[in-house]
């Protein structure tokens, strides 16, 4: 089970909870598993092609998943994923 931390604008899809534990084998499974557990969140995170929106960053243990060579890395129990949309509040 991996721990996924959801930023504030995403928590409405997770009963206003900041995190969720999901059984993921790889990062590639994140969005389908998240959408299954938190219906509607996929539309907030992904564009019409299914790619993660450019206004959203997903970090696996502090590394941006866009910078990873592959999304097929096997995840372990201790892995943490943060999903952080852009913000501009002041």
């Amino acid at each position: 089970m991996s721990t996924i931390f959801l930023a504030t604008p995403l928590r409405q899809y997770n009963a206003n909870q900041p995190q969720i534990r999901l059984d993921l084998r790889s990062v590639a499974e994140l969005i389908p598993a998240l959408e299954k557990a938190c219906p509607g969140i996929g539309e907030r995170l992904c564009d019409q092609t299914g790619a993660i929106k450019r206004s959203v960053n997903v970090f696996l243990n502090n590394e941006n998943v866009r910078d990873l060579k592959t999304h097929e890395i096997v995840l372990s129990e201790r892995d943490e994923i943060h999903i952080i949309p852009a913000m501009a509040g002041g």
Partner: protein
């Protein structure tokens, strides 16, 4: 003949006022002189920008350029450290200039009763050594980011949403710019009142952004280069996310890579 003091010369009162920070290991009088001769552009003096400006003036920055349109409304009073109910209806920048001058009468303040826009951004950035961006609209932030990169000026970017916030130090050619990190804004960010917020979150962002500005202006400490520092006061989670330049970035992709190795 009167002797005109060097602008960065520290007076006896400066030495007393800044004694505690001059004592910081690696700071000293030289860093204090650099602050005194520095200028910072602050885009919007709301919860983030205003508090950052306050910290910069307290630390001894010599000149601030403040850009913010309009007048003070009640909703700002939950997070703007030096604004009070009696200020309602007064110009943002006028009140901030007054308050900042009361902290340090020697600080030079330039006020602009407008937000950053296409027609003023180049002139505003040209007046400053560094930018602190606390604007509540992505359009203003992307514009400022573009101009900072064009003029090779460092930019301390801080933002909040609710109890969360993040800060990074953008140094053109050394770090990713805003367009590298977040190339697009969220579709729901349609106006400056989109985000909920409570006072402590922007205070943390502002204090961190101000410290990043002080570091970049003086060479003191380790700035948040290539790091997006994130916190959530609801869960007390905080992270240092690694962020990288994007070679195809339409804003900074053409700059040569000046990243220092082993820093």
């Amino acid at each position: 003949m009167d002797v005109i003091p060097n602008k960065s010369e520290l007076t006896e009162f400066d030495l007393q006022r800044y004694e505690r920070q001059i004592r910081l290991q690696g700071f000293g009088k030289e860093a204090q002189r650099r602050l005194k001769s520095s200028s910072v552009l602050v885009s919007r003096v709301g919860g983030v920008g205003g508090t950052a400006a306050m910290n910069l003036v307290r630390a001894g920055v010599g000149k601030l350029v403040l850009a913010h349109p309009g007048c003070i409304e009640p909703e700002y009073l939950n997070r703007c450290q030096l604004l009070f109910p009696a200020d309602l209806g007064r110009s943002f920048v006028d009140v901030w200039a007054e308050r900042l001058k009361s902290i340090n009468p020697d600080v030079e303040i330039v006020t602009v009763r407008d937000s950053v826009n296409e027609s003023n951004v180049a002139g505003l950035v040209a007046q400053a050594d560094l930018i602190v961006d606390g604007a509540p609209l992505f359009e203003e932030r992307y514009l400022m980011n573009r101009e900072a990169v064009a003029q090779r000026k460092p930019l301390c970017m801080g933002a909040v949403f609710g109890l969360e916030g993040y800060v990074t130090a953008i140094v053109p050619g050394e770090t990713p710019c805003l367009a590298c990190i977040y190339p697009e804004k969220p579709e729901y960010w349609t106006n400056h009142k989109v985000f909920p917020v409570i006072g402590p979150a922007p205070v943390i962002v502002a204090a961190t952004a101000a410290m990043e500005a002080i570091k970049l202006l003086t060479g003191f400490g380790t700035p948040l280069k290539n790091v997006l520092w994130f916190f959530d006061l609801e869960t007390n989670d905080s992270r240092r996310f690694r962020v990288k330049r994007k070679s195809g970035c339409p804003v900074c992709g053409g700059l040569p890579d000046h990243q220092h190795k082993g820093g």
